[in-house]
């Protein structure tokens, strides 16, 4: 029976060259890709528990399920598009290789999340309180939201830098690496924003009840919200 090789995440952390070599030489199997996906599930699940920890244990469990779903779901939705653009650009990547490369960058981002999880937990336990006036709660919510945005952004940037470096190692010279990377990044961000909108809440506003998903999650999309609510508010000077 084929076993899932679980040490690729560790190899990616300590010796990424070995991973890129394995991808280039078609040594990576689907079970290895599954191993990376499992690592993403565990790491995101752990971080998700901390992410919503300030609001309620129930939301913690929900987010521990939803955060891996968000990352893996986004990767799956854009997987075919990524493979097609890579093929059109002459990258010479198989479908499996294109999925593996994206999961590899996610794995590196997840290592950053794991590394910063004690810091996030410490801020959660020592810096924010789920008691006080509505203003106190709003302050605590915004604070914890900003902390997680910074940590997730750091993980995202590190993962994407690794992805760009990996693509440079993998594709032939004639393939335009930067436009290919940019198209992958834009498609991931475009889909990821909408999926996170559907799967909200993540941090958990103190003014809404705890729920796995909001009842109106499919009523509008993220971009409608930005263009009809956020932008007019900003253009009116926050009034």
């Amino acid at each position: 029976m084929a076993t899932i090789k679980m040490n690729w995440p560790v190899i990616l952390l300590r010796n990424r060259d070995a991973f890129w070599t394995a991808v280039r030489e078609h040594d990576l199997r689907w079970r290895d890709v599954l191993g990376l996906a499992l690592f993403v599930v565990v790491a995101c699940g752990l971080y998700g528990t901390i992410l919503a920890g300030w609001r309620s244990p129930r939301l913690s469990i929900y987010v521990a399920i939803k955060l891996p779903l968000l990352f893996l779901g986004t990767a799956m939705i854009v997987a075919v598009f990524n493979w097609m653009t890579a093929t059109l650009a002459g990258a010479g990547l198989s479908f499996r290789a294109s999925v593996a490369v994206v999961f590899a960058s996610m794995t590196i981002g997840c290592w950053i999340l794991l590394g910063l999880a004690p810091v996030a937990l410490f801020f959660l336990l020592s810096g924010v309180s789920y008691t006080g006036t509505p203003d106190d709660l709003r302050y605590a919510h915004n604070l914890i939201l900003m902390t997680h945005i910074v940590i997730l952004a750091l993980a995202g940037v590190t993962g994407n830098v690794a992805l760009l470096k990996g693509l440079r190692r993998l594709v032939p010279e004639r393939c335009p690496v930067e436009p290919l990377f940019l198209s992958w990044l834009v498609s991931f961000a475009f889909v990821g924003c909408q999926l996170s909108w559907i799967l909200r809440p993540f941090v958990g506003s103190p003014f809404y009840p705890v729920a796995f998903m909001r009842p109106d999650c499919l009523d509008r999309n993220f971009y409608q919200f930005v263009f009809t609510d956020v932008l007019p508010y900003l253009l009116a000077g926050g009034k």
Partner: protein, 225 residues
């Protein structure tokens, strides 16, 4: 013709092993490359070296805590002599996983010994600045002033530690350091939050040495200053 004999030269002595506390402290200040050699060598003396660096770091923070704590008298000085090393050690422990991951991602496997050497460097600079801290601590009664002074002295020490890590680039193992400067920023933020968590630091404790009230460091420093 008489046969000339080549003078016998002594073999080049091996570099001294950095397990003596005096040697390691001197090396940390004068030639960090030697400390890097010891750390990178991963010889059997590495745990002893790490322990010495850790002990030096703790002792130095005790001295700094004592000096700054004299601002509010001996009871606060004793409390700070305990809390200052605790803040430093707990912050490093919390940030060590991220240091390890950042270093690995950059391609330079760092060890606990390097973390201890960073902490020892911060401590040594703080000891050097402790007389300055003490002088101002005993000659002012302004809390905002002493808070800002302590913050500046500590930031100077952290900058020296960051510079020390930069100097380790001379060693092949530590050449790639992408993200380490960013890690220092994380360490600074975590240490500020740890200080808030362990408050009161510079005021006479009214209800004991520790507090259970949660507070974010920006809000705490805002109310103090």
């Amino acid at each position: 013709m008489s046969e000339t004999t080549m003078p016998q030269t002594d073999p080049i002595p091996a570099p001294p092993c950095e397990t003596d506390s005096g040697n390691i402290v001197t090396a940390l200040l004068k030639s960090p490359e030697r400390v890097a050699d010891t750390i990178a060598g991963e010889d059997r003396n590495l745990p002893a070296t790490s322990a010495i660096l850790f002990a030096v770091a703790v002792a130095c923070h005790v001295v700094f805590g004592l000096a700054i704590g004299l601002f509010a008298g001996w009871p606060v000085a004793i409390m700070d002599a305990v809390k200052a090393p605790l803040v430093a050690v707990c912050s490093l422990l919390l940030c060590f996983p991220s240091l390890y991951v950042f270093a690995c991602v950059a391609g330079s496997p760092l060890t606990l010994a390097l973390g201890c050497s960073c902490l020892a460097m911060v401590g040594l600079i703080l000891v050097g600045l402790a007389p300055v801290g003490w002088l101002f601590a005993v000659s002012t009664d302004s809390v905002p002033f002493i808070v800002i002074l302590a913050l500046i002295l500590w930031l100077v020490a952290v900058m020296f530690a960051a510079r020390y890590v930069g100097k380790l680039r001379a060693h092949t193992l530590f050449q790639r350091q992408g993200g380490i400067k960013l890690w220092f920023l994380i360490l600074v933020v975590v240490t500020l939050q740890m200080t808030t968590c362990m408050r009161p630091m510079l005021a006479k404790p009214t209800t004991g040495w520790w507090t259970t009230q949660k507070q974010f460091f920006l809000s705490h420093f805002g109310s103090t200053l």
